[in-house]
Subunit: 200 residues, 2 copies
């Protein structure tokens, strides 16, 4: 099977899965606990990693960057597909963290609080070409925090790969308007009457 | 190459990596931020998943169980090797969590605090045969919390797979004395004068 055909099918599988298993909560929140946020489907995650590899094939990616916890599975499989290390930003500085860190403040829309994301300067360097991977893109606050950290490190950006984008919120539009290469595997155009509608 | 030979080599690679990259902190804490706890090495994680598959090959595993955050990478790759879903226990009940949960209280030795671990009853059922995977085993408190949850669900236990066991602490000994099948890929016998000594 051709690569792009295979990618199309696995991303159709992702949309089917969101439609079947996604639960809609107040505030336009889509919960996909059965395969992405609490339980993980390793085979779907592997397909997602391969699809990100295909979509960013032109980029000489040296490192994958994500945020704990929900970004880790897709990022790990993308790192496997590219054969490069994966770094996950920590949300809370822990007692065991030592040395020098890049940090950025992020506003969580779903939790209505600010938190810091932190990455050790050992694992993001100026010569890196970084692909950011995350599970959701809505307001884009988490991704903007990661972009800030990439910028602090002096590394270059390959692009941003998102599993599920809520395209009715502004994050994706803003990032693309800034000239960034954003690839979202499933774009939710609207959530209405308990129904999830995808783009195209 | 024979499966067991390949497994032996990849686990030697794990020990070499711990020896080379592990940093020893006060309180016998070993930090392996470069491949397991902050940055992840996807290829090593894949080999670790394959090795757990080999060591528990006799078990009809239906689900992998771990705890966020550091257990997720090894658990995901083990799930991929077995072709079964992975569930990670959450450490903090979030606003988005709804429905029925199994919970257990865990004492964190490194953070000197109690926390709850929670798993939705949707993702652990009586007919499951569960393999627990975690990054570290020391006092065994985190694993005991997961065992409590497995017991609450009525599921059966395939065993416990650990990436790094500190065999100078009591957790592994207690779990084996209770008749449980524990497999640790690297066993640290002692940490002295900034040197890590493995069991062999």
């Amino acid at each position: 099977m051709e690569d792009s055909q295979k990618g199309k099918e696995s991303m159709q599988a992702l949309k089917d899965r969101i439609r079947r298993d996604g639960r809609i909560l107040p505030g336009n929140i889509v919960k996909v606990d059965s395969f992405l946020n609490h339980q993980l489907d390793p085979m779907l995650m592997r397909d997602i990693g391969c699809e990100f590899r295909r979509r960013f094939a032109a980029e000489p990616v040296t490192r994958i960057l994500t945020i704990e916890t929900s970004g880790i599975a897709a990022a790990l499989m993308t790192g496997l597909a590219f054969g490069v290390p994966v770094v996950f930003a920590k949300k809370h500085k822990s007692a065991n963290m030592a040395g020098s860190f890049y940090t950025s403040a992020v506003y969580s829309y779903t939790k209505a609080t600010m938190y810091d994301v932190a990455i050790s300067s050992d694992y993001l360097v100026e010569s890196d070409h970084v692909l950011i991977i995350d599970d959701f893109l809505a307001t884009g606050n988490a991704v903007k925090g990661l972009l800030d950290i990439v910028s602090q490190s002096g590394a270059s950006l390959a692009g941003i790969g998102i599993v599920i984008e809520k395209s009715f919120q502004d994050g994706g539009r803003e990032l693309r308007a800034a000239g960034l290469h954003v690839e979202s595997l499933a774009k939710i155009r609207s959530i209405s009457d308990s129904e999830i509608v995808f783009e195209d």
